[in-house]
């Protein structure tokens, strides 16, 4: 008797749904991405009870005719690609053709859709993957999908959902990412009747960020913008150190407008701003990378948040250069009375629910989200967020220290200096330390490569991966002073080591170097040397409580002007902080 049999369609769909539909947020993701792929310029997402009882996604996209609408519920039915070769040219967010079928399999779903040129639209009801009813209906152009009673037919999965509050939080998180990914689409998100986010969709990333993080974040952002000839573009914003968090949740990367999680990119950012990052803090960023579709593989995982680059070295090198450039151009001076708070909860309260649209069984969304209305929304939003308001930006022009009026020092440690509008407090040790550090680093860079010869040569056994890494980077190891040659099997002969290493443990250092050698760029970096330089510069610098004369202060400020140093000490602590005259006046209640 045959034991092995083919599963029926319904079961197949429910199993597959497990991969795509994990929780309400995954449904929202699929539906919103479909809307974006349908060319919508305005999308409204409404959820109730964290999306378990209702999710409604309304767009003003191209809609579908009856046949397409029916077909869309079939597994692996998609308009986005037609054969495997298209996988190399994916520009749409979806392409697997699984989403709608999977969602339908575990929910009670309704779809109302009309193509712009069609007179009437179609209303399809699909429960648990079975189309129950198709009827012609009058409706706005675009597509609306209503998803009710998630997991109604798979109670086991229902049990695994978290509280509706945390499911709603997951949806919020997701929509924040989608808003940031699609600044030219106006996305409105309503949870239990109140508007959480509403992005203007004016195509500006900054507007999108503000609609998620609130307007106060603006002063803490540094724009990043670089193009390369072969179609690689990096744009976005990196936060100033005030925004740095203790985890990586606020690092958002978008590759070709798709949100991705990428240790490679995170690492790249962190490395680029390392010198101004304190221990256990992680930079905030919204970075968009655009590159030709063929240069990236998104078909790694159904959730598509993992990607592979064809040429990781190029991407990371480019990104890191872009970040460094941006950060250097915008020196950071923390303000004493900084009012910035970038958490979105605060922002929620600020924004009143503009367009309360509580769901009632059969009410179709009002025709508010289409083209004509969208412009109005944008205009209404722009001034509200103070986009042109430059106040609260505490950047100082790096070559202006000499123009400051030196008031004196406080506690023999902090130099006080004023400009017309700001009071600056400079940590003499941190400033001097940074100056020395930069100078030492420069002089070491200039030094010739010297290598202490070894006798007998050091035999280094490595793993297979390491063997390949070393073989590939022989040249680059030589540039720092490691003379290496293969010695049969998986071992190497180290004939010379960099002189500066002194009597440190060779194999330890070599392995450390190997770990830090960028397998992507093949650039061996003697970071050990870096720590050494920091130590030396710390010792050489004037200390707190060292009394500095006017002349010494002047020359310190002059050096800061001339050397254009990053305004953090090599350990990542700030060199100076500022207090504006306005803030002081406010503190003393001179102005209200």
């Amino acid at each position: 008797m045959a034991v092995i049999r083919k599963l029926d369609n319904r079961t197949v769909n429910q199993i597959a749904a497990g991969e795509v539909v994990e929780r309400p947020a995954s449904i929202v993701k699929e539906l919103v991405e479909n809307s974006i792929d349908a060319g919508a310029s305005a999308i409204t997402v409404e959820i109730e009870q964290g999306g378990v009882s209702l999710i409604r996604v309304t767009d003003n996209g191209i809609g579908m005719d009856r046949d397409d609408a029916e077909m869309s519920f079939h597994r692996h039915a998609t308009s986005k690609i037609s054969d495997a070769d298209d996988l190399d040219r994916i520009n749409s967010l979806g392409f697997r053709g699984e989403a709608l079928a999977s969602i339908a399999a575990v929910t009670q779903l309704e779809m109302i859709t009309r193509q712009p040129e069609a007179v009437s639209g179609w209303h399809i009801i699909n429960h648990g993957g079975q189309i129950i009813d198709i009827s012609e209906t009058g409706c706005p152009e675009g597509t609306t999908v209503l998803v009710r009673n998630l997991f109604y037919n798979t109670p086991a999965r229902l049990k695994f959902l978290k509280s509706s509050r945390s499911e709603a939080a997951a949806v919020s998180d997701l929509l924040a990412k989608l808003i940031l990914a699609n600044p030219s689409v106006s996305i409105k998100y309503i949870s239990n009747g109140s508007t959480v986010y509403h992005s203007p969709g004016n195509g500006r990333l900054l507007s999108a960020i503000i609609s998620v993080y609130g307007k106060n974040i603006k002063s803490d952002l540094i724009p990043v913008e670089t193009h390369q000839e072969n179609g690689l573009t990096v744009s976005g914003f990196i936060g100033k150190p005030a925004l740095y968090r203790s985890n990586r949740t606020h690092q958002s990367f978008y590759v070709n407008s798709r949100y991705v999680r990428s240790p490679l990119l995170s690492q790249c950012i962190e490395e680029a701003v390392k010198e101004q990052t304190m221990i256990n803090r992680f930079p905030w960023c919204v970075i968009k990378i655009a590159l030709p579709a063929a240069e990236v593989d998104v078909n790694v995982h159904p959730s598509k948040t993992e990607i592979r680059f064809r040429n990781p070295a190029a991407v990371s090198g480019f990104l890191s250069a872009a970040i460094k450039k941006a950060v250097m151009a915008a020196p950071y001076v923390p303000a004493v009375f900084h009012t910035s708070s970038s958490d979105h909860k605060h922002h929620h309260k600020e924004q009143k629910a503009v367009n309360v649209n509580v769901d009632k069984q059969n009410e179709y969304p009002p025709k508010s989200e289409n083209e004509s209305n969208r412009k109005a929304i944008q205009e209404e939003m722009l001034p509200k967020y103070g986009m042109k308001n430059e106040e609260g930006d505490h950047t100082i022009n790096v070559s202006d220290f000499m123009k400051l009026n030196i008031i004196g020092t406080a506690f023999s440690t902090f130099i006080l200096a004023e400009s017309d509008t700001e009071l600056y407090i400079i940590d003499q040790h941190a400033a001097h330390e940074r100056l020395i550090y930069e100078q030492l680093k420069k002089s070491i860079m200039k030094q010739e490569v010297v290598s202490q010869q070894l006798l007998p040569p050091f035999i280094l056994e490595v793993t297979h991966d390491e063997f390949i890494a070393v073989t590939d980077n022989m040249e680059s190891f030589l540039t720092v002073g490691f003379e290496i040659e293969p010695f049969g099997g998986k071992s190497f002969l180290i004939r010379g080591i960099p002189v500066i290493l002194k009597e440190a443990n060779i194999s330890e250092i070599f392995h450390e170097l190997l770990d830090r050698t960028d397998s992507r760029t093949g650039q061996a970096k003697l970071l050990l040397q870096d720590e050494d330089i920091i130590k030396v510069s710390c010792k050489k610098a004037v200390k707190a409580h060292d009394r500095l004369s006017q002349q010494e202060i002047r020359s310190l400020l002059k050096d800061m002007d001339e050397k254009r140093i990053p305004l953090t000490c090599p350990h990542g602590r700030p060199i100076l902080i500022s207090m504006s005259k306005y803030e002081l006046e406010k503190k003393f209640k001179r102005i209200q």
């Binding site: 010297v450 010869q453 070894l454 006798l455 050091f458 002189v499 330890e508």
Partner: protein
Amino acid sequence: MKFTCSQNNFLEAVLTVQKAVSARSSTPLLEGILLETQKDVLKLVGTNLDLGIETYIEADIREEGSVVIPSRLLSEIIRKLPDAEIEVTLLGNYSVKIVCLNSLVTLQGFAPDEYPSLPDISESEPIEISKMLLAKMIRETIFAVATDESRPVLTGSLLEVEDGEVTMVSLDGYRLALQKGRIESSAGHRKVIIPGKSLGEIGRIIDGSDDNISITISDRHVLFDLGYTRIISRVLEGEFINYRQIIPEDYRTRVKVDTKILTSSIERASLIAREGKNNLIKLNLQDQKMTITANSESGQVYEEIPVLLEGKDLEIAFNARYFMDMLKAIPDQEICMDLTTNVSPCVIRPIKGSDYTYLLLPVRIFG
């Protein structure tokens, strides 16, 4: 336990055995010195399990007994006591009363039962060597012992005895120091790797007298018997690098130079070289002279020394420190440097005698 002895003798003994006591140990017992009466002498023992030192001093023993006393505290107290008779009495619960003239100190000690006993090494076929020779061998080679642990055998010095000749070799991958000496011994071929740390302490304990010291080698330990003091060190296991193969026989350039002049030239050059982080000096051998140059951000040095030069001209660079380590250690007035190329080892020997060999690896400069 109760005994009296002179402050002088007691202090000297405490300082001797203290060299084997670790300053910090997870076992408080090992931070202490074992005092034990034996008939009419007092035995003191210090050990860190790698190195153990025991010494005997004359004392007037009134009551037998033993105790472990914290080493650092004991030595500091004895040092500060006047040069007079000291009376030490063991009270109950291992506290120890120390009386000297008008001073009375009570120290809390530990029970001696768990104090590790030093390994028992039967002194068969000991090697007899003069203290002076051993001290010289240690002094002139120990600086070349490796400090990093990547090649454990190199953290010790090889002591090798064969046909009445004793050799001590240290090498750390950057240089090698070798000192030979002759002894009256009929013992066969014997070799042992002694940890550099132990050897350093041994060097500090032995005086430069002409007395003999007997060395006994067992499988896992080496014993230095100085009569009243016995030093037992664990030995390093493994095969020492075949140093004979490393030392080149041929040379293309030979330089004879005055040690003192060379030393002060390198010292001056080093002042500038040190600023440059890599402590690099460049030697140019040409026209019967050696020029030494160094430069860094802080400045440049140029030194010129008359030398006896035979063979090819050569330009070579060294880490100044490795050069100075050797120059400071040897007493000889003139040295001879044998060189081949600027990336191959330089062999340095005193002009008189061939007992000492120093091999120094150059620094290669790219581009």
